[in-house]
């Protein structure tokens, strides 16, 4: 047993003395969370809009107030006529114009149907789409509040509700994604590199020639990265909750357990990679191309799996990150428990057992 603990200690020395790598390992999740949270977001904030209010009544004023109060819009221009619209768009000063017709409140109260024109700069269709959606939602909100105060029995309103993420926050989507990415990278790539490095150094020959049992070598190689991954999980979760305001709705224990399970799977993959690579470069390349890319592409975090061609959908089932991503979304964001994610958990567990068995079998007691 002493052998084993000393081996782990040695691994920690390697880990702690390689300052640059260590810095990257700890820094990566933090920067990724921050980059995704603040820079690479598909949310639209403080978009500059113009208002053309031909009615100037109580209702339009109320709606304009609500638009202005929202963090999505900044009213920069109050226009007086249709003629001013085009030039304002052309100068690139605004991305959306809200046009109220004459007699707006009147029409609303009497005919129960008052049109509002939303004119968007569709050079970037995604942004245009998002903006019109936001604006419609705000207008709909107003209509609903009207309904409560003044009794319109038969008003039919379109209902738009954003489930689980009412503010349409991007962070709800990428926090689980970043977790999958970081855990896969730290687990698989670092474990495989640390084993392959021993092959390159020639120390693996001595370790093999020594009486130490191979399984202990394997476990000792995994322990430091398992711990490191747990630290990373903690930092990601803390950042999400306190900086990005992404709450953990479900059970924290379950969440940590699932992370643990996924990390072990990543470590087993790393072990497998180490048994097929002879140099650190190969190990790195295989981890990046074989694991990291599929994690990004097939977990559903960047590209929706439902939209993929069937063969790719089938392949995505082989990517552990896909299952992990489902689980984390369910547990963390939807707040469901093991009763909804037991199937995915079993899939991960199965993957872990298979991978671990193969890699332990493949771990050679000899050089060939």
């Amino acid at each position: 047993m002493k052998q084993f603990f000393y081996f782990i200690r040695k691994e920690f020395y390697h880990l702690l003395r390689d300052r640059r790598t260590l810095f990257i390992l700890f820094g990566m999740p933090v920067t990724q969370i921050l980059i995704f949270g603040f820079a690479l977001t598909n949310e639209v904030k403080n978009s500059r809009i113009a208002i053309l209010d031909n009615s100037k009544d109580e209702a339009t004023t109320a709606i304009i107030h609500q638009l202005e109060a929202s963090r999505y819009f900044d009213i920069v221009e109050n226009l007086n006529s249709y003629a001013e619209l085009e030039p304002t768009f052309q100068k690139g000063q605004i991305r959306l114009a809200v046009v109220f017709p004459e007699q707006f409140q009147n029409s609303l109260l009497h005919t129960n149907a008052a049109p509002i024109q939303l004119i968007a700069d569709a050079t970037d269709p995604n942004v245009a789409n998002t903006l019109t959606n936001y604006a419609s939602a705000i207008i709909m909100d107003y209509q609903n509040s009207m309904k409560e105060t003044q009794d319109f029995p038969y008003t039919i309103t379109t209902e738009l509700r954003m489930l689980y993420n009412p503010q349409l926050k991007g962070s709800y989507n990428f926090v689980p994604g970043v977790m999958a990415m970081v855990l896969m990278l730290v687990g698989a790539m670092m474990t495989s590199i640390s084993i392959v490095r021993e092959k390159e150094l020639g120390t693996m020959e001595i370790i093999l020639v020594s009486p130490i049992v191979p399984i202990r070598v394997i476990v000792a190689k995994m322990v430091p990265y398992l711990l490191l991954s747990m630290v990373n999980i903690a930092s990601i979760l803390l950042l999400s909750v306190y900086v990005l305001d992404v709450p953990i709705h479900g059970s924290l224990t379950l969440l940590v357990f699932e992370c643990f399970l996924f990390t072990l799977t990543a470590l087993a993959l790393g072990l497998l990679i180490s048994s097929i690579s002879d140099s650190q470069q190969v190990a790195m390349l295989v981890s990046l191309m074989g694991l990291f890319l599929p994690t990004i592409m097939f977990s559903g975090f960047m590209f929706p799996i439902e939209n993929m061609p069937i063969p790719l959908q089938v392949i995505s089932n082989l990517v552990p990150a896909k299952w992990f991503y489902y689980i984390v979304k369910d547990v963390m964001i939807k707040g469901t428990g093991l009763e909804t994610v037991w199937k995915e958990t079993l899939v991960l567990l199965g993957m872990l057992i298979v991978l671990l068995t193969i890699s332990i079998k493949k771990f050679k007691v000899r050089l060939e």
Partner: protein, 307 residues
Amino acid sequence: MESAVKVERVFKNFQSGKTQIEALKDISFEVGRGELFGLIGPDGAGKTTLFRILTTLMIANKGNAWVDDLEVVNDYKEIRKRVGYMPGRFSLYQDLTVEENLSFFATLFGTTLEENYELVKDIYVQIEPFKKRRAGALSGGMKQKLALSCALIHRPSVLFLDEPTTGVDAVSRQEFWELLRKLQLQGITIIVSTPYMDEASLCDRVALMQDGRIMDIDTPKGITQKFSKPLWAVGAADMYSLMNDLRSDERVDTCYPFGQYHHITFAEVNQEIQGIEKSLVDKGHTNLSIQKIEPTIEDCFMELMNQ
């Protein structure tokens, strides 16, 4: 003499692309207990493969081998407890200190530095001043001594050293061989490989290896005595034209440059030397010297290669 290592008709092939490489072809030898045995041969002769088979890291295609009377395939676990091994290009953990490297390898073999201190004492006192230094910052000679200590730390009965002196300067090499002699006195069997022929004379017995075969096994003296012809060393001011002149002379059988001299043998065993000397003088060579010399291992190695 009881044997510490016994190798019987071992063959080993590797598949390299489409071609089969025969790394070892019919290797047999025995090493006695407490012997300092040298495997001498150039890169690619099969020395490392042979070491890997003996240290249970590879399995031979044919034939068998025993270390400490244990069979290398079936008893590999037991052998691994008893042998010390220093692979070629072995560089330890660069980011661990001298002390940490030592205690890691000690615990790996289930022992401590203190337990076998007597054995590594001579080496350890030399590296002790640097024990807090990281292995990566040691000089070549010191790294090699540290590696030897690590291989010795569990008091192995047989020590395998694969090219320990490659890339190390002459002073460190000399000190290293002195250390090996001291270890031998402690009863450890040592098998060492080297591509440098001049190190052969420092072993009790040597096997000369070339191209997967053992060409000869004997004591260094026994090997040089087998040299078939009288050997002469010839020197002159212009060594390059001397070599060309000697090689074009029909009376000369072989002519190899050997540093400051050319070593030559004659087609006739009783070749009269005056005639040769005269024709060299006639060709305008100055500072000419010809003397009969004892062959070195390297001379013998080349003679064996030519057979």
